[in-house]
């Protein structure tokens, strides 16, 4: 059983700093009541509905364009762009879920006032999973468009046969990908279970004030987090790595996780920033919270770069053809510029900018930084998925021996049919943003009865 504080944190007067002292007499302090933590009934309903409808229209339009092949696009391109959008949103939700779970497990106090917003982001996780399904359904119905391991013609591939169990068990190569589908269902069920359980406990605590619900949530996370970690890694293998089925990297799951938390922290910072600008959460969230969120952002900037570089460097040194093919493809045909953008924009720039504590504590500065970090997550997913939808033209000599591969179009792979990428990525974000606005506006903005709420209200970094 987890030890919970049986009383409020010991009197700060003992330590003599009244400035961090929350007024606690007579139930909840003023800052945890009324307008400060509530939107009026039905606020944001219009814009939320508009965004969701717009998002669904954009995504549907994008898929229709992909099927029709308008403007030189292909279905393969469409599926890749669809997955870029869906996986960026999924990554943000996964990162948010991790953030909630890990902060339960470490008994962190300072997150009490921001946890509700993280839960609002996390609540989209089952829907993000639902967004994956159309793409997977098209893949299975068409027998493999982007996921070429479903193709009948690859059924004789030696490497695919070695991996057949992972995709097709108990069936065989080229048949219905049974094990793959079972895993997909398991991810959906588990993600729905873990997010809805944590949100239910948190909402119940709002109503009843039962502090032991926190202990229940901790117990749930203690076994839930390891299982959740496995679903992160394996969903990364299944949907992001498998389109290039000859490629394998054991660091893939960690790489995806690092990017996921990176983008989730940016989204959390952004949501709280917007709420502060709306005049909410006064006295609940201070620059000290931003300092800590900034530290998380910084940590996952470095972690992502560390994992990304390690993965690259091991493959670079080992020089195994089926592994290096993945990077060779991305180091040519114009994709190399995207790789450099990731290196500079996902690591070097945020690293030096977030080094300073003044930046981390600066509300206004953190808005463009957070937006940039989310954009970099899109770029990361784009870099992983989109090159797989691009096949360069092979250049052969008179005897049919391959001399070189060259770009298929003069404008470069990233630009041909780029409208499709824009449609699908913005569509996914519009659906997510619409849902998030509705969810944020619907309830109290703070988990008011969290047993550690007073710790979070007076949160301060002592350094």
């Amino acid at each position: 059983m987890t030890a919970l504080p049986t009383s409020l944190p010991h009197d700060a007067h003992q330590h003599g700093h009244e400035h961090r002292h929350a007024p606690v007499e007579g139930g909840l302090p003023q800052r945890l009541r009324g307008d400060n933590i509530n939107f009026p009934q039905g606020a944001g309903g219009g814009i939320s509905m508009a965004l969701m409808v717009l998002g669904v229209l954009l995504v549907a339009g994008g898929l229709a364009a992909a099927f029709s092949g308008a403007g030189g696009v292909s279905l393969k391109h469409g599926i890749a762009a669809y997955l870029v959008g869906a996986f960026t949103v999924l990554a943000i939700c996964i990162g948010a879920t991790f953030f909630v779970m890990v902060n339960y497990l470490v008994n962190s106090g300072w997150t009490s006032t921001i946890r509700r917003q993280v839960e609002n982001i996390m609540a989209f996780l089952p829907y993000a999973w639902l967004l994956l399904l159309p793409a997977l359904a098209i893949e299975i119905a068409k027998g493999g468009v982007l996921f070429t391991w479903m193709n009948k013609e690859n059924a004789t591939d030696y490497l695919l046969n070695k991996k057949a169990t992972y995709f097709f068990f108990p069936l065989h190569v080229g048949e219905f990908p049974a094990f793959f589908v079972v895993r997909t269902l398991f991810y959906g069920l588990f993600w729905w279970f873990i997010t809805s359980s944590l949100i239910r406990l948190s909402n119940e605590q709002d109503r009843t004030g039962d502090r032991w619900l926190t202990a229940k949530a901790v117990r749930l996370c203690s076994w839930g987090l390891p299982v959740f970690a496995l679903t992160i890694a394996f969903s990364g293998f299944d949907y992001l790595m498998s389109p290039d089925f000859k490629f394998f990297s054991t660091m893939w799951g960690v790489y995806f996780f690092a990017g996921a938390v990176f983008s989730a922290i940016a989204t959390i910072t952004l949501v709280i920033n917007v709420l502060l600008r709306k005049g909410k959460l006064k006295g609940c969230v201070s620059e000290e919270h931003f300092h800590d969120l900034g530290k998380f952002q910084f940590a996952f900037t470095v972690f992502w770069a560390y994992i990304g570089f390690s993965q690259y460097f091991l493959i670079y040194y080992a020089n195994i053809p089926e592994e290096t093919a993945f990077y060779n493809h991305r180091n040519a045909f114009g994709w190399d510029k995207l790789g450099i953008l990731l290196m500079v924009g996902h690591f070097i720039a945020p690293f030096f900018i977030l080094l300073s504590r003044h930046v981390k504590k600066h509300f206004n500065l953190m808005i463009p930084i957070s937006l940039w970090c989310i954009a970099m997550q899109v770029a990361d997913m784009f870099w992983i998925l989109r090159p797989m939808a691009y096949t360069p033209t092979p250049l052969k000599d008179a005897n049919g021996v391959l001399i070189a591969v060259q770009e298929a179009t003069s404008v470069g792979p990233g630009l041909a049919g780029g409208y499709l990428d824009a449609l699908l990525i913005f569509g996914m974000f519009a659906i997510f943003a619409g849902y998030l606005i509705r969810k944020v506006a619907s309830g109290p903005l703070v988990a008011v009865n969290d047993p550690r709420i007073h710790e979070a209200v007076g949160h301060k970094n002592y350094v």
């Binding site: 007067h13 003992q14 330590h15 003599g16 700093h17 570089f309 460097f313 020089n319 080094l355």
Partner: protein, 197 residues
Amino acid sequence: MAVSVAAQKTVYMTENNEQVHGILAEFASPADLYHAAEKVRDAGYDKWDTYTPFPIHGMEEAMGIKRTILPVFVFFGGMTGAGLGFLMQWWISTQEYQMMVQGKPFGDFASGGWQNFVPITFELGILLSAFTAIIGMFALNGLPRHNHPLMKKERFLASSDDKFFICIEAGDAKFNPEKTRDLLERAGATSIELVEE
């Protein structure tokens, strides 16, 4: 207490002709110490310190201690390490003695020759920032030192047990045997004594 005026600043001597290190005041609780520290800070002293058995949150504010310059040193230390590490590898393996390893590109930066150099550049960046942090911390704290005048005081040993101390040093520009003692008394000290050098 005899007072002699040296060339630049006042040196205070005890009746036994020993140089005065400062005035040590004992406090009963962290709160007393905290408020006393605020009073000493507001009186404008800057050569003084507090001694407690455990860290007290917010004490740096009560004492008016400014942010340390150390992170800036560490940043430049790290950058120096990374820069020198890169330069060293570039010079050794592309200028001084070219060596082809596993057919990897070298020297030609456009084709990715710099990639080989990343791990050691990173490691040297880390190494020099860690060295700067440790050595800089010691230097800024005036460490290592073999002894401290306060160690002579039997009473001071309680600072690692259950008592809280402030010591204002005689080297402080505002130090005055009577006024400083008076300030500490008014701040609620339970006992005050003179510390010899």
